[in-house]
Subunit: 428 residues, 4 copies
């Protein structure tokens, strides 16, 4: 047990001292890790001190206790006044550690003082060296950034090749990141604004056939395959179109409008879960949704301190469903800014652009993904706009649109979206 506690302590205290708030006492905001059977949960605690008396808040818990010298003792009560935990520990500069009891289970805990938000946002240019084929909290962050900051970086294509045609990784959507966002804790929402998603080379590749699961069982029995069909594409960034590099006679005039997007944006999945970068879930991942593009803002539930943001899998264009199993796969220049909404606990990713608010429904089948998207949208409308179920039903029934994001990854992605023009009529 000691190892993990120490490790986590090391991770959450790895911040350069300069970035830390200078307050030296207990007062202020702390990030507290609570260990039961060696497994951490995280809490943001705001302490106030008056003499030896300590009060505080952590979500819906009220905290009360004492600080005598460096020795802190406190209880946490839920809104019904029930004691949920008793804790004792030692304050040591920007860190604390101690023991306690949570709902009858003995626990250990550590805490670090929350980083102060920088006075002005910074822009980081990040040159990736390694690319990651798993969404996992076990991968050390490559950069620590603050809410409000912007990152300029780039990603290889799904096969691991960069803008100069150099193979940099095995394939399967290798990712750039993860980026550690200061102040993001489990239970928060990470905001990711895609400020720039631009092509950086003139070629893309794609599958040359539809994925068998997207057509009826008899389709392939009679399908007429072309010999030596070449599904490499040329990207004409000036004219904004893609064309087959070596087209067949019938497709020689085919011009697909370029619409650059990111197949993958993710935070690290919960706990020690680790998924291949072809996968997706409530943590985002390989969502393959053609509306995740420059100008789109994404919202993710946070599962780890720092959120651990990944980006990758550039597509020059993609139809609904990603029927060929991959899109026009290419490397991409990526710029994004981040923010954190404290104590807003999303169940699944959301997105937003100028026109729509979108609920992203990810599940093991189309019907379940559809229900997930619909339910998340209904709940969001009811929460954000203080609507009854009947009122939200009117918006769902007469203003909602669906997008089929993708149907060929390990999970299905269906999106429910509602026009902002309608939402403006309601007002918050």
């Amino acid at each position: 047990m000691k190892t993990l506690v120490t490790l986590v302590l090391a991770v959450i205290t790895a911040l350069p001292a300069a970035a830390r708030a200078q307050s030296t006492g207990l007062a202020g905001t702390w990030e507290l890790a609570l260990f039961r059977f060696n497994e951490p949960t995280y809490n943001r605690v705001k302490f106030e001190v008056s003499g030896e008396s300590v009060t505080g808040k952590s979500r819906n818990l009220e905290i009360a206790g004492t600080l005598r010298g460096q020795i802190l003792e406190f209880e946490a009560k839920n809104p019904n006044g029930r004691v949920m935990g008793k804790f004792k520990g030692t304050l040591s500069g920007n860190e604390m550690f101690g023991e306690g009891d949570a709902s009858g289970t003995p626990v250990r805990w550590t805490a670090r003082r929350a980083a102060a938000r920088p006075s002005s946002p910074r822009t980081h240019t990040f040159e990736p060296k390694e690319f990651h084929r798993y969404f996992s909290s076990a991968i050390p962050p490559v950069l620590r950034i603050a809410p409000g900051d912007t990152v300029r970086t780039w990603g290889v294509d799904a096969g691991g090749t960069d803008s100069r045609g150099t193979r940099r990784s095995l394939g399967g959507n290798p990712q750039t990141g993860p980026f550690f966002v200061e102040g993001a804790l489990p239970g928060d929402t990470l905001v990711v604004r895609l400020t720039r998603v631009r092509l950086n080379r003139d070629s893309a590749g794609s599958g040359d056939s539809v994925v068998p699961t997207t057509v009826g069982p008899g389709y392939f029995r009679n399908a007429k395959r072309a010999e030596d069909f070449d599904s490499n594409w040329k990207l004409d960034r000036e004219r904004g179109v893609a064309m087959l590099a070596k087209p067949t006679e019938r497709l020689k005039n085919l011009r697909i409008p370029l619409a650059p997007m990111l197949g993958c944006v993710a935070v690290a999945p919960p706990g020690r879960e680790s998924f291949r970068t072809g996968n997706l879930g409530s943590w985002g991942g390989n969502m393959d949704y053609n509306q995740i593009r420059e100008g789109t803002t994404l919202y993710f539930p946070v599962y780890h301190p720092g959120a651990l943001l990944f980006v990758g899998d550039g597509h020059a264009a993609q139809g609904d469903g990603e029927l060929t199993g991959d899109a026009l796969e290419t490397s991409m220049d990526i710029e994004f800014s981040v923010d954190v909404i404290e104590d807003q606990d999303l169940g699944s990713p959301r997105a937003e652009n100028d026109e729509y608010v979108m609920a992203i429904g990810i599940a093991g089948s189309m019907p379940d993904a559809f229900k997930r998207a619909t339910t998340e949208m209904a709940l969001w409308l009811e929460r954000e706009y203080k609507l009854s179920a009947n009122e939200s039903a009117m918006l769902l029934g007469f203003a909602l649109r669906y997008d089929v994001a993708e149907l060929i990854d390990p999970q299905v992605n269906m999106v429910a979206k509602i026009p902002k023009s309608i939402l403006r009529q309601i007002g918050k």
Copy 2:
């Protein structure tokens, strides 16, 4: 057996004599009904006569025989030269009847001379008196029209109420029709152009809650219902918006753009199948797709002589999926023209508007409806544009969009659509 044969003969010969071609011999096009175990199949046969010698064609069958006086004898051979049937009968003006043998089974047959296409299209104004709650070939046609003709009519709302608020039928999408289209035979395609779909009253009704199957199983457990929520709507045809007739405080400014559409367009389903007008299938029906509106052209497989076209279930507006179980239900003025494409055998309905060609996928579940739409689109592209499976995959992968038509009827409806701008690049 006699009864049915006689009945069918009566039906297919009920055309006013004036509309019939004047040719008195065998030469020309005939509609032939073949009865095995009392069940008819239909064939279009084109005869040529030279002396006593008769030749002809019926789809891919070659016909050869003799006409001696009024006695006709002929064989039908498939492209491999194999005799598929031998027939003998009597010519009697614009009718024939006889017996024969089809692939070893004894058969009876009747035929009538095909109606000539009128020299110029007509416009019929049809005032409906009865409304039908089943899609069925057992319902006698209300009007016989010719390819090219236009019909001006109207429909009650899903509950059976007309534009003046008079209840005219029980509910469940009562239909106007069926219209018998001369010359349409099983194996053909019926073309229906919706030239006018317009609101004719100022009120609509809708469900007041989402259908339980469209949300997750936990949604309703916590849903906050409004007391006495009123889901009647006012339609402001001048401003082109719908608003709740008695809105709650939160929804008092909600304005849904009017987008009139028909929930139902159908031909009679195969054989003696009869479905409630809430149902849908390869014959169309309650497709509840918000793009079936003025300016849309629909294509249906024909299952009966005359196709037997139904229209109804006007919606003033409808979101994707028809989540409240019904849309803004209202009566509607409807105008359409029809045409017939001979010997084009669609497996399921198609649609077309200025922007898109659409394949309508109807099945028992979302995954099956999605595969159906995708497969029909792939096959259509390959057939119409002479593409290989790899070539069609490029269009599907990078230009296809899906619409979720509806998810709450007995069958699911998912639509695959491809921009005409892309198709123009291919050329036929």
Copy 3:
């Protein structure tokens, strides 16, 4: 309107006078058909007469009125005392007819005196002459039987061939029946005991390949087909096994145990719906469940007066799911007895044998069929055994078994079953 009313009156009064109760006044049980916009609903009404005063009951409605001479007037009130309808009519022997108002809608009505249950059950031997390829209330009944009666009959195989190898119908599961069961009304349950389901010939046919929708999309790409594979079977009724008639070398010793069953048992579907005999629904139909065999009792919701029972589609044996699209298809000797449970309104078919009580879940997809079966079983346990939802959950969680009945028909059939040995521990 008159036509239909007259017709229905004719149908429900077609019973031989001898079978009718002899009571000549109003007192007793009547079957009343109520017509709104020409569409009937049916009610069982029990009248009592005291002087000119009339009281009665119809389900949860209380009836009160007067009979003056032959003129009957009455009101029906629901349990809250609200008047649901007012009726006036004329008594004429065993018939009545009149007009009225039901919840504000004008109605016409007819009634006939309910047939008395015969003093002792009869056994009918029925030799079928026609076979029906639709489940539909439009087909005239072939025999009128009473609750408790037994019918001995037989059915052709799915292709229409009888026990002597004579083709009697086109294929697609042609049915024997329909049988009109006296006293069965919509809202009742029809009980069908299969007392004898026996092979009557020595041959069966089957598909020679699995249905494509039952395997993964890649299966057929690599499947090795045998040339000239013959899937005709020989039935050795003495030894109780089926063997291929012309087996391949590898399958020459294959012996499938005979387990005769009926693919189809059905009542007529609601209203004027008509389904091909390959279809299934809440009215039963082509359920293709290998436990519907001699010794099984079936329960169906009744949708029409007389229920209109169909039987057919004999299988000599069938694996779960009916993967080859048909089973060992053969003609069958069939004997069954019937009964009626008044005012028990099942939502879907149920079955029972010595070992299990079964809820038959029919829907458009496996997940929906599974949920339907589970829900019907839970509701049945709670209703029949007066269990709370937590109590029924204990039985579902630890004693329930599922059978995959079939997956290749227009609807999926999944069965939930619970051992009677467990139910006996609960007691009613």
Copy 4:
């Protein structure tokens, strides 16, 4: 890169020297790890040496080269004679390491001499101290065992409590293991025989309600919940039944037959994937199938050297589908033996007992799990019994049965099973 290579080398050479084959030269079997972009693949190579000349085999690759002193050089050719790789390295006792080129990509490689199979199987008694809540190859093995060996151990219940009622872990199916099976390499099959699965305490817990996704959306709206329902169970091991510890009046006589089983048996999932122990996949895991019990043999695809076997999640009894979300959860005594089938590459788990051979179909939805199980069974029959697709269809169509294993975990599990009595008629 160095780190991982060294680490892997360390892992695969951690075997006690005593267990190694004593041969000191190159001849014999080696386990070779090939690293591309830092990611290993594993190969079993059998070398023969004749003078300086070296030949060998690795699956379908032919190896030829030279050994001069300790310096080994070789090429690997596929069956078409194409060179798939060129390698050079150094022999150092029971280890080798080197570099090379595989299909144009530079690689590094290490190898260790394969452990010899012990002359007689051993029985290990393993007392677990830690329990793991992830299926992951990142967890160090707790014991190294050889093919043929038996392990006697035990597992905590799904909540982490042992046979004495002591909480040993957080909940979520904490596992015993992983066990490293010498000689198992990716591409092999791990065989696990459950020789003993026995209850070791007198209590179990279960959910008190069905999981909402297993019933229709309206079920819970009307469900009558019992107050303070207690779903703790008493296990009467002598009589072989479970009963509610504090039963309601209605359930006081309910006795569920004990049928102990393991909810979880797994190998480590591929690569660095890590799944919570509630999950399942081609690597097994939380399969929750009530036929995984004493006497059952399981077969798993191997994804890592040593396979890394986990066991846990004892159930005293479980109905089909695990409808309450958990079964009768209890701790369990577990004994199993292992074996390895080299170069047999299963796509998904299989099982076998006295009566049936079973294909375990795991997927994101019921239809996909069903198709997976059916397809795996068809392919297995065709491969093992040398059947054509038509011949396997006869077995699937008339002898196959399905079990609904579970429907409430992150993936669905459906099992296809075929009687051994039928298979014996075919013979291999």
